[in-house]
Amino acid sequence: MTVDEQQMIEHIQQLIRKPGLVLDENTALVSSGLVDSMALVDLLLKLEDVTHMRIPPGKVQPKDMNTVALMLATAQRVGKVRK
């Protein structure tokens, strides 16, 4: 697991507050209902912080945010390096 993935997972664990729940980079978050759609704004902002990129939200769909691995792949695909 990369450092970026680890940071995202720690943030998600704080967000969903389910003690004992083990998450990894491939855990389904949106389709499983663990993360609701409004929390995705918060997650996208965190993803920008972790990757130091600006991610155009119009280019992101719910399926792109379903796992931490997909989130980071999405950042690589559509993100722009932040000034």
């Binding site: 704004v41 939200p57 769909q61 719910p62």
Partner: protein, 584 residues
């Protein structure tokens, strides 16, 4: 330059009259990416699209659903459709924060009702959602590329667009559920824009620099479509637009765009007047803001589409007066898709904001009576005016029993005007319910005082507790004044108790930090006391929830109906019935 809106027979004629070299639309993506097109280039691109639509067999009166991100291409497609005498309708484009199941059912319902000839999507429209676009035997899917090339203006056979023909269909507020398609004629839209331009002093501004509009508003909403697209198109103004998603992610960009483009006019719903100050980098200090941003160009920032809350306006004013926001720039309006847009507008030329009154809370609740009192009086509650009626707009205030009320009494707001819609598209029964003898029954509660309209809230949200009329916003404001409750994150609901034959108040509120739930009993007691002290009624149940529990709308504000449904699901012991829909 002065534009006399009444000279045009239709919206396309108004667009055609704009000087080709004048800037029309700037699409702002970020500081490195923004694109401006002139009126001439916009017309050229729209004609290219019109030709493509015509080749698809588009004819006068056909419906076109536009399911595209908020781009230049979506806007030229909208105009292209009108150029052919066909009827465009914007629907919300799917995005990462929508609830997929709700979006799918909304899409199915709306597209089926419109029986569109063509559904226009962009190249990136998610394939998994295509199955939920209702495409009957006659409907074709049209994928459009963002680039319309540099082809010269094609000669499209001109449609004879009559003033009284339908120009487009705009959907009533909300992004999901059974939205109602409001069919509007060219003449009605032009009349509304003429009144609005006059009320905003757009003609009068001709001595100074021309107005420039800033918008983050979605084009499927009347504020975005009418105030920030049709108004600049017809009055030949420059509009700078960013996508609602970019705004919600980075609200500070709003300050940046207004500064960069010296924007003079903008519209926002009430919640945004709190959202923007709270989400910008105030923590970095006023000096940072002063160096970077300047809002002194703004001459009217209009609070619209939700009941206007004085507190929200004050919060915005206080946060941004350090970066040039002048006194008297924040204004208000009462608007709805059914009237094309505005019914009222506060006076932008008098150098101060809308009027504010303080009323005897008890008289308001017990008798729906307006009794002005002094600001500091016990139990006084304040309301901010939505301004005066636009020309040729009339309102009536109707009592519960159907009688017409005079000034100083609260009742349902009825509207009659020369820009009123003629009906919901393909829904005659629904139309007959809301338009009676030429008056539109808005479902909003309000009152008139000294020729100004004050909007109190939605009629269906009114809580009637033991014969007393309670407005949920008032209860929610008191609940949120408790330091443990997250501001703006409380919902008051009425739950019918068959044993006592009346509704009882249930409040759901998020605490600021989860740890606060350890003091649940004490906080509940204090909140209960605050409500009793503030408005003299008892809350049956207070449910404290952790942060992010409340259901929020796509814009991030607490959703009354969504929270109601979640509560019905998760707290069955309360015996709450699920509700059907909500007007955003």
């Amino acid at each position: 330059m002065t534009v006399e809106v009444s000279q045009f027979r239709n919206l396309i004629e108004a667009l055609d009259a704009a000087p080709a070299e004048l800037p029309f639309l700037t699409v702002w993506v970020d500081e490195d990416e923004q694109k401006t097109v002139t009126f001439g280039e916009f017309r050229r691109q729209a004609r290219v699209q019109a030709m493509a639509l015509r080749n698809e067999g588009m004819r006068v009166g056909d419906r076109v659903v536009i399911l595209m991100p908020q781009t230049l291409s979506a806007m030229t497609m909208f105009v292209a459709t009108m150029m052919l005498g066909a009827l465009p309708a914007f629907l919300a484009y799917p995005n990462f924060k929508i609830e997929p199941s709700k979006y799918r059912s909304g899409l199915e319902g709306v597209t089926a009702n419109l029986k569109a000839k063509v559904v226009v999507i962009d190249a990136e429209f998610p394939d998994e959602l295509l199955g939920h676009v209702s495409i009957g035997g006659e409907t074709r899917l049209f994928r459009v590329s963002q680039d319309s090339g540099s082809a010269s203006v094609p000669a499209i056979p001109e449609a004879d667009i009559l003033a009284d023909s339908t120009a487009f269909i705009q959907h009533s507020a909300g992004t999901t559920g059974l939205q109602k398609g409001v069919a509007l004629t060219h003449a009605a839209v032009l009349r509304q824009l003429g009144h609005l331009a006059a009320a905003l002093g757009i003609d009068a501004a001709k001595r100074g620099p021309a107005d420039c509009i800033y918008s983050w508003l979605p084009l499927y909403h009347d504020m975005g479509l009418i105030a920030c697209f049709m108004l600049p198109m017809v009055c030949h103004l420059h509009v700078v637009m960013q996508s609602p998603l970019d705004w919600v992610m980075h609200p500070e960009t709003m300050l940046q765009i207004i500064t960069e483009h010296k924007c003079t006019l903008a519209w926002m719903p009430n919640f945004a007047f709190q959202f923007v100050p709270r989400r910008t980098s105030l923590s970095r200090g006023a000096k940072y803001h002063r160096a970077k941003y300047d809002l002194s160009s703004l001459r009217a920032l209009i609070n619209c589409s939700e009941p206007v809350r004085s507190q929200s306006m004050e919060e915005f004013q206080e946060a941004f007066s350090t970066i040039g926001l002048k006194d008297g720039v924040l204004h208000s309006s009462y608007a709805m898709a059914e009237n094309v847009f505005a019914v009222t507008q506060s006076d932008c030329r008098r150098g101060r904001g809308p009027n504010r009154v303080w009323l005897d809370g008890k008289m308001l609740r017990n008798a729906h009576q307006i009794v002005p009192v002094a600001a500091g009086d016990e139990g006084a509650i304040s309301f901010t005016s939505s301004g005066r009626l636009l020309p040729n707009n009339e309102v009536r205030i109707l009592s519960e029993m159907g009688g017409i009320l005079g000034s100083g009494q609260v009742g349902e707001i009825l509207i009659r005007s020369d820009s009123l819609f003629t009906g919901y598209y393909n829904r005659p029964e629904l139309t007959a319910e809301v338009i009676v003898d030429g008056w539109y029954h808005s479902g909003d509660l309000g009152f008139c005082l000294e020729d100004e309209l004050y909007v109190v809230g939605r009629k269906k949200d009114l809580l009637i507790i033991g014969g007393e009329n309670l407005y949920p916003h008032d209860i929610e404001e008191i609940v949120c004044s408790h330091p443990a409750i997250h501001d703006g994150r409380a919902v008051a609901l009425g739950v019918y108790n068959a044993d006592v034959g009346t509704e009882e108040i249930v409040v759901v509120a998020e605490v600021d930090h989860e740890e606060l739930l350890a003091n649940r009993d004490a906080i509940e007691r204090e909140v209960r006391n605050l409500v009793v002290g503030g408005i003299g009624v008892a809350v049956k149940k207070i449910l404290l929830k952790p942060p992010q529990w409340l259901v929020k709308s796509t814009a991030g504000k607490a959703s009354r109906s969504g929270t109601h449904e979640k509560l019905a699901r998760e707290n069955p012991e309360l015996r709450i019935e699920a509700v059907e829909s909500e007007r955003a």
